[in-house]
């Protein structure tokens, strides 16, 4: 499977979050901290990532910590796409 570059995924996620929440989110902001997004929206993000990057989030990967920031989500997507330890 093709592994998307980290920076591309991050930019796409920032754009997605902006279009859906009308707010600008930094790549390392905790999206679910107080005053942030709801758990229902978290689930929507999971479904969006699965559809957009053709990955499946299962088992132990399905936990909120993997979705707290744009960076952590992009890292998870790359791992599920089969990125090696060597990086890009």
């Amino acid at each position: 499977m093709t592994v998307s570059p980290q920076s591309t995924i991050q930019q796409e996620l920032v754009d997605f979050l902006h279009s859906r929440t009308k707010k600008v989110w930094e790549e390392d902001t905790d999206l679910f901290a107080s005053g942030g997004l709801s758990s229902l929206f978290a689930m929507e993000i999971v479904v969006h990532l699965e559809k957009t990057y053709d990955v499946s989030v299962r088992g132990k990967d399905l936990r909120l910590d993997n979705f707290r920031t744009v960076t952590s989500m992009a890292t998870l997507v790359r791992r599920l796409q089969g990125a090696g330890d060597a990086g890009e």
Partner: protein, 295 residues
Amino acid sequence: MQQPSEQTAREPRRHHLAVLGAGVMGASIATLAAGHGVPVTLIDVDDAKLAAAESRIAGEIRLAQLMGALPDDVVEATVTPGGRLADAAGATAVVEAVTEDADIKAKVLSEVSALVEPGTVLVSNTSSIPIDELASAACRPADVVGTHFMNPPYLIRTVEVIRGARTGERAMASIRSLLDALRRQPVVVRDAPGFVTSRVLHPMINDAARVVQEGTATVEDVDALMEGCLGHPTGPLRTADLIGIDNLVDSLRVLHERTGDPGCLPCDLLLEKARAGDTGRKSGRGFYVYQGETS
């Protein structure tokens, strides 16, 4: 071998829950049970509703996992759909989650109580109808107890349990055992219209809507004040969208009829939204718009 886990002691599979009504609450109670290893039969006369509930439950199980709300050491149980009340026959507990209408709930309880083994606890998940009123419809009023699960029940641990005047010890023991298997924390209260949570919350939401109706503040500002100044977790109007504005109107009417409190008479803005079908998160629009969000 490991020590017997806490879950082994709970033995979720010795319970078998029949849930009546595959609406928002029925489906999410099924999610809660299945996710804790308790097998469920989900019953509704409407095939389309049952089909919709199946995919809804699959999504909710994932949401519950995402939020760390399901135990790691439990194998998920299955939810079996059923089209007839008779499918509840083998259950160890029955939860009715049909429309918040006293006549409909009484009819369902009356019929199901004739189908199950005597002594099977019959749980009404009503948000405001007095339990003793519903118990009169059942063959054995002692088997009837109330629970008021908050939405979503798989994320909210505390459950209001209502002991009616005729609710028996055996029914109380059954509901405690079931809620323990579901890792919920019961708070038992006496029977009254709206019990505690609805009696306090629903007139407050009605007032929040009235404040918007009178032009004092916007929807967003009412919620921002109630959250920021008073520590309400989601804001009353966002909570209204989660409850369902149609359900809220039904509940306020029940409260008004039974308490005479004019503060419980649903305000025009709530009535308008219910009439227009803007019932909240489940319809995609209420006080807020939920564009494409999983409901």
